[in-house]
Amino acid sequence: MFEVDVDDLKAWRKLTRKLLKRKIDPTQLTWNSTGQQAQQGLVFGGDDFEQVDVVNPTPTITAEFLQLLARASCYRDEQKWAVFYSLAYRLVYENKNLLQDAIDPQVKLLRHWHQTICRDIHKMEAFVRFQKLDHDLLGEVYFAWFEPEHDIFATAAPFFVKRFKNMTWSLLSPSGCMHWDQTILTFSEGIARPQGMQDDCESLWQQYYRSIFNPARLKVQAMQSEMPKKYWKNLPEAALIKDLIRNAQSTSEGYVAADAAQPWQKTAKSKRVQQQQAELRQKRND
């Protein structure tokens, strides 16, 4: 048995290349992810796999696999490095078309992780809410608090940099923060949620949310499946949802009742409007 230790994709790739060259069977490996040996990518405890002879000096894995890994490796799961290696081993030594087998359990797991991360990044791009702060020295700065379930900040960063290139902003979370000063992206340790942040624009946004909602078409389930509750605490508009739902029926019934109580009457129209309407109707009949 060999014991190996990696904590990021780069270290995993380096180590995997060495393991594949020696055709080390996945079942002979125990994977740790403390990152303590990541620099060396070496073994500790057990036997030293580098003693094993190289049997295949140039093992190659496909670009598709690496693409899937780039996102799947953001998934927080202890098993992931072992599963990735097992897949890499099978791709090289058993079936190079393995990834096309949609119902292989490991391929399924890889695709599930990849899909989850894609969805989480997509939802992060959607549900981050910046608050503006006028800072004495920095001018306009934008802050957002966002708690990702997986380690997606670095992967999601290019989206925010390209979109808000000319803004100074920070994305804050308990597991890490990133900061853009209009030139350079930097990362820092996680922090506790800052208290008392406020932005006047939020009340306009809430007004918009209230007004664009159509109470005659209540579909709470559809809303919730696309905007799960776990995101609500960072969305200023989510505070309105409960009341909007509760009042929906009376609002839309209100429309009908108002009509019944007071049948539709043409309001007095200005002469000018009437004349313009007449012209339009005439033009249409020509």
């Binding site: 096309q100 087998d101 949609a102 119902i103 399924k108 997509h122 959607a126 549900f127 809410r129 910046f130 503006k132 957002a144 989206f159 940099v161 390209k162 979109r163 808000f164 290139k165 000319n166 624009c201 009340s203 306009l204 946004w205 007004q207 918009y208 949310y209 209230r210 007004s211 664009i212 909602f213 159509n214 109470p215 005659a216 078409r217 209540l218 579909k219 559809a222 809303m223 696309e226 905007m227 508009e237 949802i241 909007l244 739902i245 209100g254 429309y255 009908v256 009509d259 049948p263 539709w264 009457q265 043409k266 309001t267 129209k269 409007v273 313009q276 309407q277 339009l280 033009k283 249409r284």
Partner: protein, 436 residues
């Protein structure tokens, strides 16, 4: 009037437009710009969802809800006793940028009531888009509602600044338009859709020429409405059948290469006109129309298969037989249109998913485009068994009666049963659906 109050009125007035898409445009971002904004090129982003289940992707507002038109189905018609407001161009520009910088939205969907004249109104809309693009170098998404009677110059200018343009066809028939929207002119609606499409095609060809002309893919000088055009029609305000509506949609997709036709179930609005039906159509009808629309565009169905023509001898499969009873021209509200088709054509089933063509697999009820892809991929490696269905993301209960696998044949009695439809309907479920 305060900005917040204007926003309340002019967002409320805009909510009957179903579209909020920010998809399908070109990919761009602010890395070499002076402002903010980016577009993904493919999929848009929904930044929020309202409790009506609809995506909120864009700031969707009217520039003004004053209107000289008197379309009876519209809350903003001239004779409607609602409160009126008007944004200045600057107010809309600032709202868009303020919302965008806080990551609330992908961009702006701007529409307007018609004030003074079509050209005047269109000019106001174009001015907002131009200010965002030129003065603020805004690279987010802009959707402009286009006034069909506006001059060709304005239609051209609109597409230079907008990602998507739309002209609403409003109602399924000319007659309905005449009765309910007396100032609207069906002829200019179609003409302008044609004009927009010409511009869109021209810009695309121009771009393609550029790309062939130079080895390096130089960016073309201009795009014209790169996300194409879309339209909307109101369902249930007039007696048009689903067959009629789908035939119209099919024509719009063919003729003007519409990216989307939106269906909007006529919704009860305050102070509605008595010309209109007193009850809204079931929202399920709108849902079924969207499903049918998908079958037309992505599943290889034609209109007559979806709204059956019985023993028709009609030559063109997309021209429904007008002699048939109306009921047959309506989609079944209880079950989805693909399942309804399969039940009518049950002699084509069961389909062996290990051997059938892609076209036929797409026609199995309960199999979507992705499910179909997964079946085709997975069967290259093994003969599929009934247990593999769930691994392809398919429900054995839904597709079971219609397929054969290596180890499974459907209960033959079920496929020949007179009440096959009932198998798919649970009384309780039917109840819930009507609440939609």
């Amino acid at each position: 009037m305060k900005l917040k109050q204007k926003l309340a009125i002019l967002a409320d007035a805009a909510k009957y437009d179903a579209s909020c898409a920010s998809s399908g445009t070109v990919k761009r971002d602010s890395s070499n710009g002076s402002g903010v904004g980016s577009t993904s090129g493919g999929m848009g982003i929904c930044h929020s969802y309202a409790p009506d289940g609809r995506c909120i992707s864009l700031l969707k507002v009217l520039l003004t809800n004053f209107c000289i038109y008197d379309c009876s189905y519209c809350i903003n018609r001239a004779s409607s006793p609602i409160e009126r407001a008007r944004f200045s161009a600057e107010e809309v520009v600032n709202l868009t940028l303020d919302f965008y910088k806080r990551n609330y939205i992908e961009g702006l969907f701007l529409s307007s009531g018609i004030i003074q004249s079509s050209d005047y109104t269109m000019e106001q809309l174009v001015r907002v888009a131009k200010t965002l693009r030129v003065k603020h170098d805004f690279r987010g998404y802009i959707h402009l509602k286009t006034i069909p009677d506006a001059s060709p110059e304005l239609l051209r200018a609109a597409g230079i600044y907008a990602d998507r343009l739309s002209i609403n066809i409003e109602l399924p028939s000319k007659r309905a338009l005449q009765e309910l929207a007396p100032e609207k002119n069906p002829k200019t609606i179609h003409q302008s859709m044609g004009t927009l499409q010409d511009h869109i095609n021209e810009a695309k060809e121009h771009k393609a020429d550029k790309e062939i002309g130079s080895r390096r893919k130089k960016k073309a000088k201009f795009d014209y409405s790169p996300a194409g055009q879309s339209t909307q029609l109101i369902v249930g305000a007039d007696p048009s059948t689903d067959a009629k509506i789908l035939t119209l949609s099919h024509g719009l997709y063919q003729r003007y290469k519409m990216r989307r036709v939106y269906y909007s179930a006529f919704s009860p609005i305050p102070h509605s006109d008595q010309q209109l039906p007193s009850m809204p159509p079931p929202l399920m009808r709108e849902h079924r129309l969207y499903q049918a629309d998908w079958l037309l565009r992505f599943y290889g169905f034609n209109v007559n298969e979806i709204t059956p023509i019985g023993n028709s001898t009609s030559a063109d499969a997309n021209q429904p037989n007008t002699n048939q009873p109306e009921a047959h021209q309506m989609l079944d509200l209880d079950i989805d249109p693909k399942l309804a088709w399969a039940i009518r054509n049950r002699d084509l089933f069961p389909v062996n998913i290990n051997t059938a063509s892609k076209e036929m697999i797409l026609r199995i009820p309960g199999v979507g485009v992705r499910g179909c892809e997964k079946i085709i991929q997975a069967r290259q490696f093994r003969r599929l068994r009934i247990g593999d269905l769930s691994r392809c993301g398919l429900s054995a209960k839904k597709v079971g009666p219609f397929i054969e696998t290596a180890d499974y044949n459907p209960h033959n009695k079920l496929l020949t049963a007179a009440d096959l439809k009932a198998h798919f309907m649970q009384p309780k479920q039917a109840q819930q659906l009507s609440l939609f």
